[in-house]
Symmetry: C2
Subunit: 177 residues, 2 copies
């Protein structure tokens, strides 16, 4: 396990983004500090070496940043989960709720296979809708969701409750909604 | 320098995506093969250790996959370049041409500083319009574009010509448009 670090200090708060009243937790400031980014990746690597996984699914687009670096560090397959229409070739899709209406997320139907132990990785857990849809996609391919991991979690938005039955892990919590 | 590998064999051709007549070069198949993904990252790492860089700018969204893993491998800052409206906080923007109309790409105005040697990284060089706009953003912040690097290049689309004055490097070429 890497030595401890105050990761929260490297995450910038951007008020009123993407709309008035939202306190946006911006991980791009953390990416500018190689020690902080390495700390995130190495901490996840230690956790998922102890609790083995076979593949990593990163959620478009900030989940790609952490998921692909972790895949490289752990020498594991990386699978991108993307919005409807973005992935070429054959996909399976699940809908998830937005504030107004629904959207769809997809993965390639040949990206995972039955019995694989899979980690879901994204930058931030808010309401958990997208991560839940991604978990269902993984399960539809017969693979197991070992855990859904996030750099940042916003506990007031109850993402853990929405992801009930799926283990959730996060590195930093902010008590804002 | 890592041993040689037939990277082209790991890149899937998807006909008629995103529209009829296009032969889409899909790097997600490469991401499923850890030896191939590691080969890409380690090859870039060797090149930009010999020709030093201070930061990596990855282009939304597949450029994040390669750019962030390389940033982790090289212990360098990672800067995401994203479409208009996606980055929180203060940004600078450049327009680029699409087949019909224009779009805008942005980076944070505090992500780079004068004198830094910067690598642009994306999965694929086609017409080069987005990469050129990203190069201009980097130069507007006073930083130097050392090179624009791509996993795949489609020479018939003349991206190198569009990027005139900026060194271009790619690992695999496909002679399709």
């Amino acid at each position: 396990m890497p030595a401890s670090m105050d990761l929260a200090a490297h995450i910038r708060n951007v008020p009123d983004f993407p709309k008035p009243g939202i306190q946006f937790k911006d991980i791009t400031s953390l990416l500018l500090v190689p020690d902080a980014f390495a700390h995130v990746i190495d901490t996840f690597k230690a956790r998922y070496t102890a609790q083995p996984i076979d593949a990593i699914v990163g959620i478009d687009a900030r989940g790609f940043i952490f998921g692909s670096a972790l895949s490289y560090a752990m020498h594991l397959p990386f699978v991108p989960a993307r919005k409807h229409g973005k992935l070429p070739g054959k996909t399976i899709e699940e809908s998830f709720e937005l504030e107004y209406g629904t959207d769809r997320v997809a993965i390639h139907d040949d990206a995972l296979h039955a019995g694989q132990r899979v980690l879901i990785l994204d930058d931030l857990l808010a309401t958990g809708g997208t991560a839940l849809a991604v978990a269902r996609l993984i399960q539809r391919l017969g693979a197991e969701v070992v855990e859904a991991a996030f750099v940042v979690e916003l506990p007031p938005l109850n993402g853990r409750k929405k992801l009930e039955g799926i283990p959730v892990h996060s590195l930093v919590e902010f008590m804002v909604d």
